[in-house]
Amino acid sequence: MTMDLPLIWAGVIAFSVLVYVILDGFDLGIGILFPFVKIEAGRDQMMNSVAPVWDGNQTWLVLGGGALFAVFPLAYAVIMPALYVPIIVMLLALIFRGVAFEYRFKTRRKFVWDASFAGGSMLATFAQGIALGALVQGIPVANRAYAGGWWDWLTPFSVLTGAALVVGYALLGATWLIYKTEGELQRAAYRFAWIAGTGILAMIGMVSLWTPFLNENYMARWFGWPQVLYVMPVPLLVALCAFALYSGLSTKRQLLPFLASLGLFILSFVGLLISFFPYIVPSSVTIWSAAAPDNSLAFTLVGAAVLLPIIALYTIHAYWVFRGKVAASGGYR
């Protein structure tokens, strides 16, 4: 029996990156919205709405890095040096974000860790968006190593994707707060969601129109005939999600805006996969040329196949335990 293990693994890694973006997306989004909520009780609620789950959410980022190292070591060895600055900035920013959960309730000078939480979340998100944009632009490779310059990652396109991710995570954070809170904080969250939702739709449009002009493969994938027929559902579904988001917000639904925002993220991610395939480092290294030998992939896949469903079960269970509207106290304290 022959299985296309690199392809399966590309799917598993794409899945973990998507789960990371969605789950840590609303954690980071709450951090991005932090400066816009002035009342301390509201901030306490915001933080407690993710306190029990943020660490698990961030673990998907560790899985993304670890699995890339295991399965596509060449891609890992090329992408990380190419994106050296944004990756290091992201790691440092995540430190400021992560410790704020623990430190904030241990001092009277909360404002220090409020700033650490908000600034860390914003900077980490921006760096992730820049890294994504730089990857979409393509990374040159020679002799199994990165062959570009040290500032290649910084372009108008990558700054746009960085800003788009900040707005996108803010939307996830706002719609999560709609779902998890009530009263004044929830009313503020509806307002945030209107603004961020409109902003992200505009930015999705800009990135989508710009991307095909970066590279001929992207252009052929999206506008070539008859491929355009296969990819057409993506923009149509985006329009559907946008409609669901707006109608959910105007009819004050609790969960629909969050689900619609998730839909926007999933569709944008699928759009990226359509553009990338079959490259893992556009347009230098395909998933097959980056892959480790099959026995490494198979060995790791056994673990993933057994453990990922178990992880899914206890992660869902943790969300279930902490279900319902969040109270002002009851998290870290």
Partner: protein
């Protein structure tokens, strides 16, 4: 010259970030197990004092664990950013071990951490205890996988090399259970337990100095010193076995640890001295004749190889290995002494009354961290100039990144780590200075698993 500088900066950055990191997981490995034991004792005995202790150490665990998580994410990506050639070539072997660490350990810890910290009222006592056990299991599984990966770099086994120059696996069992792994795992887990025990003991002693009657302080002090009395001798034995394993696989490291330049039959044990790498001798050596051979070969006239057996470019830096080994050993024997002293005091029924012991325990509180770092310095610097021992050098492993970029990131890590982890350490010490709450009410009559008479 510029290439060399970038290499040195990348090495300093790795050494700095991993040294800062290992402090927290070592503490959380020990503390997670301690919390599981406290939680279990509470359920078994029904005594509220165990719940008070659990809640007390839980808060400290949360801060330490948080610092471990954020500094750990850095490690996951640093292999790729700064050691990309190493990553490309060893990925097929080491990557899967690290992926298993994430899948089996990190998710387990993170998935049950929320319930352990915040969920006792929501899920009930039984499931809450289960969550505590899962967090403890997660920390141990994490140690298992990452030490397997680290050990493979010291004693590679079960591999071949493909056309692209990558290490590939021929035998997973041989890779995972490579020759130095069992010794390193036992030595490290014992180190984590001892380190934690001395922290717990110091906190107990601090509160006993203020009030000898405090039951929670007595219990944590006593438990910690049982760990010291039993764990320290075991650790010295484990360390000796680990050393013999190192002699077999990395004799140059042993030669540096011992300060031996000359190969000799009946080699002395050098207690102190100043290794002089340039002149290839250890100056001012105070040594015991034949003891070196006796310890290493179990024969007073056994042959012990010295550093001159290897060309200079294959030798590890001798000074730092020699000294860090002695710091680790010195602390280990001091721990043994505290453990023995505690047994004597127990026999005299003066464990809670001896203020000298309490003061000594406070002084020894942070000693485990120093020993841990010294031990890692010994083994990691002692395996230089290689990343994969004998097969791939550190210089070959590094990413081709400008010295300026690495220097900037190193400076940023240093500033951020001192500020952030300094603040965290301050909060932890402040939590420790508060005494545990007076005992929580015990379990209602009939709900404890073991019926005990009230004390």
């Amino acid at each position: 010259m510029e290439g060399l500088d970038a290499l040195l900066l990348a090495r300093i950055q790795f050494a700095f970030t991993i040294s800062a990191h290992i402090i927290f997981p070592a503490f959380s490995i020990g503390l997670a197990s301690y919390l599981a034991i406290l939680n279990g004792l509470w359920l078994l005995s029904g005594r509220g004092v165990f719940l008070s202790l659990f809640d007390y150490w839980k808060k400290i665990f949360a801060v330490a664990f948080g610092m471990g998580v954020v500094s750990g994410v850095v490690m996951t990506y640093q292999f790729g950013t700064n050691w990309s050639v190493f990553s490309d070539r060893t990925g097929p072997v080491l990557g899967p071990l690290m992926a298993y660490e994430v899948l089996a350990a990190f998710f387990l810890e993170a998935g049950f951490l929320g319930i352990m910290l915040f969920g006792r009222e929501r899920v009930g006592r039984g499931l809450h205890f289960f969550a505590t056990l899962m967090v403890a299991l997660g920390t141990l599984l994490s140690a298992f996988w990452i030490l397997s990966a680290n050990s493979w770099m010291h004693t590679p086994a079960g591999y071949a090399v493909n056309d692209a120059g990558q290490f590939i696996v021929t035998d997973w069992w041989a890779v995972i259970f490579n020759p130095s792994f069992p010794y390193r795992l036992v030595h490290m887990v014992l180190a984590a337990y001892l380190t934690t025990a001395f922290v717990v003991g110091a906190v107990g002693a601090y509160h006993l100095l203020h009030d000898r009657q405090r039951p929670a302080a007595r219990i944590m002090f006593s438990m910690a010193l049982w760990m010291a009395a039993l764990g320290a001798p075991l650790q010295i034995l484990a360390g000796d076995l680990h050393g013999l394993n190192t002699l077999k696989h990395q004799p140059a490291k042993i030669a540096a640890m011992e300060g031996h330049f000359e190969t000799a039959a009946g080699a002395p044990l050098i207690l102190f001295g100043i290794p002089n790498a340039a002149e290839e001798r250890t100056d001012y050596a105070i040594s015991i004749p034949k003891l070196g051979s006796l310890i290493l070969t179990h024969d007073p006239n056994g042959v012990v190889r010295g550093l001159k057996e290897w060309p200079k470019h294959e030798r590890p830096p001798v000074g730092i290995v020699f000294w860090s080994f002695r710091i680790m050993m010195g602390i280990g024997f001091a721990m043994l002494g505290i453990g023995a002293w505690s047994l004597w005091l127990r026999y005299r029924r003066r464990l809670y009354d001896s203020t000298w012991m309490h003061r000594a325990a406070i002084v020894m509180g942070p000693s485990g961290f120093a020993a841990l770092l010294a031990g890692w310095f010994t083994t990691e610097i002692g395996r230089q100039p290689y990343t994969v021992y004998g097969l791939m050098t550190t210089a070959e492993s590094v990413s081709a990144i400008d010295a300026a970029a690495v220097g900037a990131s190193l400076a940023a890590f240093v500033v951020v780590y001192f500020a952030i982890f300094g603040a965290g350490t301050y909060y932890i010490v402040r939590l420790m200075r508060r005494p545990p709450e007076l005992a929580e009410p015990g379990l209602p009559a009939g709900e404890a698993l073991l019926v005990t008479k009230p004390i």
